[in-house]
Symmetry: C2
Subunit: 281 residues, 2 copies
Amino acid sequence: MKIIRSIKKIQSLTKQLASEGTSIGLVPTMGFLHEGHLSIIKRALQKSDIVITTIFVNPTQFAQGEDLTTYPRDEKGDIQKIKDAGGQIVFIPKASDIYPNGYETYIEVESLTKILEGKSRPSHFKGVTTIVAKLFNMTRPDVVLFGLKDFQQATVLKKMTTDLNYPIKFIIAPTVREKDGLAMSSRNKYFSKSERPDALALIYALKAAKEMVKANITDCQRIQKEMQAVIKTTCKKARIEYIAFNDFNSLKPTDKVVKNTICSLAVKLYNVRLIDNMKLM
Amino acid sequence: MKIIRSIKKIQSLTKQLASEGTSIGLVPTMGFLHEGHLSIIKRALQKSDIVITTIFVNPTQFAQGEDLTTYPRDEKGDIQKIKDAGGQIVFIPKASDIYPNGYETYIEVESLTKILEGKSRPSHFKGVTTIVAKLFNMTRPDVVLFGLKDFQQATVLKKMTTDLNYPIKFIIAPTVREKDGLAMSSRNKYFSKSERPDALALIYALKAAKEMVKANITDCQRIQKEMQAVIKTTCKKARIEYIAFNDFNSLKPTDKVVKNTICSLAVKLYNVRLIDNMKLM
């Protein structure tokens, strides 16, 4: 497996691959890989000849006061996991190469980013779309894969990819969960053993919503109230940032669960901010 | 010569060219081509195997009240001129394909665009960087060429290209002038025969500045005053928008002409807005 740290090198390598007709799959990550990432890498291997996994904790998508400096890292472990999963190339650029002195170009998807996560984290998506476009230009993939867990991120990036005419197939991979249902996330490691059960508040709430829809209850306000109760029952200290109901593609909010309605939520538990989502119909 | 109007077609063609190892030169234009454009196309032919000239009057770089609807167009004439210059591919996309309903992704170079032209035309460069990045993604050129006449545009686009890691060589081609010195511009056709001599106010002012620097006068305020006088003498009705002195690369303003100082100006004459520039040292 090739480990590349220089932008020039990844660019000359991907140019050579393109000239040989080798198709490239890109899996951008912030490292500290879990089963969710590895399942995406394996999926990418089915879609392209060669998979480039990138590891970069992107500073521009963290706001001041967020967990940039404490974000968990394990480069050695990540490299081993990618190798074991069958990945052929790992790209690990330096922050000072990605954002050199005087850097000042940013990409924004203007309206999809104003709601949900974007409302809680105003500059977050601008950082995400910018770094992903830069990775597109460095690696020129034929296909790119993102996880459904960050569904708004996937939707925003898909919109960016289409709007800017990148000739890249965009695949959203399903969320991988722990045995008990908690969505895999690098941030799960922040919980102590005694706190960990409370993290299930999100999936319990989403399952309750799904059950209500199965029982033909489609009023979002009613479902939301029930979800709030479930969360509070699981963990008294939980602070709910939002529970939202939107169309999966347009992100248009809805009062009633219809086809393609996705319910998403963000909850702060013991200073750890978790997100999760589920398609309700 | 190939004339392509579909985004899909240009993308499959450029993908094929890349896989064959053919290098691509890109010359983005808004059409109504003059000798300035043609000299850029000819230069591009020396730098790459195949040259794609694009013709697209980009709506997002015009503000309300600017000359989008009246901007001169001559598709037939343009195609003939490109053919005569040796261009192999012309790409003429439709505005509704470039900006379909719901389009909402924009690219901004944040500080270089706040001065000079960007001050006079606040949303202009956001439109320019966005369309050029889109054209980059559609055509994947090895080299791109822009004219020096719009020097801030060239500087901003070069910065965007570098910041976003496009693997594209960026060339700035010298300004081509009419015999009397007027910088070639599609907007020159707006002048009536009697108004046309007044359009020389800009080059007269720039030449006066150059002469002063040759005589070791490097104080920008003094040079600016002289330039204002020259402009007013040439055309009483001229409205000067700005006369500025900046570093060519960083666009940093300067009080004293030093190496790489470029003087640029924008002047409104009979409702036609002209720009020009000259390196003074």
